[in-house]
């Protein structure tokens, strides 16, 4: 049985688009409930439990409230952009789902249906392109409200998203180096078999590219504006940030957009690093459709269902980790956020890309093909890099809060720097000042 072609392809694609959009919206609604339940668990309270059994209908009640409240429009706002902004926040997060494969291909009477809306030839680049558009909603909301707090939120949001996009894109480069392909189903297939043959159990890229996995997760968290990166809507400083002036359903769209963005980020982490819909330690799900229509493996409806379950489970686990982070960590200070993005992420990722490229070059010149040994060497290199990253490079800088603070050498360096600056100021100003002794601090 070959893949679907002709007119049926168009109809099936349209049906898939509608189906997955509905699914996404339902899951996003349930995520809100999941977040509140999880928050309750972490803070040792019950969470919502009044509407329906175990509070399951809480989301429905919230949605009803969004629809029934009064829509406000600030007097001085720019009307067109004010109305357009919530749509711009929601759309990129939802259309990103088009290139994510959810399950193994499904055999039907028309042919083999791939469980992905659009199998774009440049899927990974499409992800980066659409992810970079998420900022427009925030910027437009902040600017068009014509009010202080939204404006500051919009500025912060745009600066943050520009900064972390670079890190997001660069953390995907090692995947390209290992997989050698930008088509997302091929990246999943690569993880299922790790190129060692159709009957192997594969190796998820989270292990051989551990550091990349970490960076992508953090940058993805920053891109979806969640704690500890929710500076654009920091309540204590900016009321509600860029959506301060929004009410009712327009606010609801920002809200849905945020959760849809989180779900998308989690799905991307699953696809790129956790094997997509691969079921671990089982070669029976190694099904793929090559671009010329050849089918490898034996597709079956129950396999599609099972792999879809695996994908959902992995994605929800990542989402749960995101929520766990939100209810555990405090928010960054804004200068720390920028320092982390520009002074830590980008140089570290550049060095890491060179390291991985060098390792792959060495492995290939040693005649090793992707397989178990290849993966093990990459994993060892990554483990060393991760150790270096967390215990040497970062000590007392980002996590400890501010440069040159926590360690003894750090204090020493700060003293030297301050003394040097004073000396330079004294020399330039010629005002005499308080001397130029380096131990003055």
């Amino acid at each position: 049985m070959g893949p679907v072609t002709g007119a049926a392809f168009g109809w099936i694609t349209a049906a898939k688009a509608v189906l997955f959009f509905t699914l996404l919206m339902v899951v996003v609604g349930m995520l809100v409930l999941m977040e509140r339940k999880l928050a309750g668990f972490i803070q040792d309270r019950s969470g919502p439990n009044r509407v329906g059994p175990w509070g399951l209908l809480q989301t429905l009640a919230d949605g009803l409230k969004f629809a029934l409240k009064e829509e406000t429009l600030p007097d001085r706002a720019n009307k067109t952009f004010f109305l357009l902004a919530p749509c711009m926040a929601l759309v990129p997060a939802t259309i990103l789902f088009a290139v994510i494969p959810f399950a193994a291909p499904l055999p039907t009477q028309w042919g083999l249906v791939e469980v992905i809306v659009a199998d774009a030839p440049v899927g990974l680049l499409y992800v980066l392109a659409i992810a970079s558009l998420g900022v427009y909603g925030i910027v437009m909301a902040g600017w068009s409200s014509n009010s202080k707090y939204p404006f500051l939120g919009g500025l912060r949001g745009s600066a943050q998203m520009i900064s972390y996009e670079v890190g997001l894109a660069m953390s995907l480069v090692p995947i390209l180096l290992v997989a050698g392909d930008v088509r997302i189903p091929n990246i999943v297939a690569m993880q299922q078999t790790f190129e060692a043959g159709p009957d192997t159990v594969g190796l998820w890229l989270a292990l051989p590219l551990l550091v990349s996995f970490f960076f992508f997760t953090v940058a993805g968290l920053a891109e979806s504006n969640r704690i500890p990166f929710d500076l654009p809507e920091a309540e204590e400083e900016l009321t509600a940030g860029y959506h301060t002036e929004y009410s009712a359903m327009k606010f609801g769209m920002f809200f849905l957009g945020e959760y849809a963005h989180m779900l998308t980020t989690a799905a991307l982490i699953t696809v790129f690093f956790l094997g997509g819909w691969d079921i671990p330690f089982w070669a029976g799900d190694n099904i793929r459709v090559l671009s010329d229509g050849t089918v490898i493996g034996e597709p079956a409806a129950w396999k599609t269902l099972l792999t879809f379950g695996a994908f959902t489970l992995k994605t929800l686990l990542v989402v749960a980790v995101f929520m766990w982070i939100r209810w555990t960590l405090p928010r960054f200070r804004y200068d720390q956020l920028m320092d982390l993005g520009w002074k830590f992420f980008i140089p570290a990722l550049m060095a890491y890309i060179m390291l991985i490229a060098g390792t792959i070059l060495g492995l290939e010149s040693a005649g090793l093909q992707p397989g178990l040994v290849y993966g093990a060497v990459l994993f060892a290199v990554n483990l060393a890099a991760a150790g270096l990253l967390f215990f040497v490079l970062d000590r007392g800088r980002i996590i400890g809060g501010g440069a040159y603070r926590s360690t003894r050498e750090g204090r020493q360096k700060r003293m030297w720097r301050e003394a040097r600056e004073r000396a330079m100021a004294a020399a330039a100003g010629g005002s005499g000042g308080s001397g130029t002794a380096p131990e003055g601090g």
């Binding site: 001085r76 440049v122 680049l125 980066l128 600017w143 930008v182």
Partner: protein, 183 residues
């Protein structure tokens, strides 16, 4: 047929939003219409099977450069009040703009219409004359990314590296200009 319809859709969108970029008075509108133009161009690239260029068009222009434009417009907080002087409209400026546009239009018209005059030299002429399709062959052999990356790092390596040097110079220049001066 769907491809034809999409071609006209994207072309019309590109031209109309391009016109709006220059006629809108509000700078934020201009920026956003420019984003629409870039999107339509990216759609046209997809119709030409240039998927990589289409994606890069959105990543670089719509995703990075236009966000930066919008950021600057926002920092200056322009566009909220009527009668703000946000453009340069002297007689000289209009004259210069008209000259440049007419020249460009003439060049494009010459490239499209004067196929015989060019003697099959231009890209347009070649593809219309039914010549072998080098782009299609490259896509077949190397995939959407390789078709661009191959020549870039092979045939045109030195121009490519020189361009990156140029960008580096621009970055250093910007830092020098923006740095706080010691009094």
């Amino acid at each position: 047929m769907i491809a034809d319809a999409l071609f006209y859709l994207f072309s019309v969108a590109a031209v109309v939003s391009g016109l709006f970029v220059v006629t809108r008075k509000n700078p934020v509108s201009s920026v956003l219409f420019l984003v629409v133009t870039f999107f339509s161009l990216s759609g046209l690239f997809v119709l030409l099977d240039a998927h990589f260029i289409a994606a890069v068009q959105v990543i670089v222009y719509a995703g990075a450069i236009m966000v930066l434009f919008l950021f600057v417009v926002m920092l200056l907080n322009l566009g909220h009040f009527e009668g703000e002087q946000t453009d340069f409209r002297g007689a000289l400026g209009r004259f210069a703009a008209a000259t440049v546009s007419v020249t460009l239009l003439a060049l494009v018209a010459r490239a499209v219409l004067g196929l015989e005059e060019l003697g099959g030299q231009g890209v347009v002429a070649e593809s219309l004359a039914g010549a072998p399709d080098p782009v299609g062959a490259a896509l077949e052999a190397r995939g959407p990314v390789g078709a661009v990356a191959g020549p870039l790092f092979d045939e045109y390596l030195i121009p490519f590296e020189l361009t990156s040097l140029l960008l580096l110079v621009a970055i250093v220049g910007a830092i020098v200009l923006a740095r706080r001066r010691e009094p």
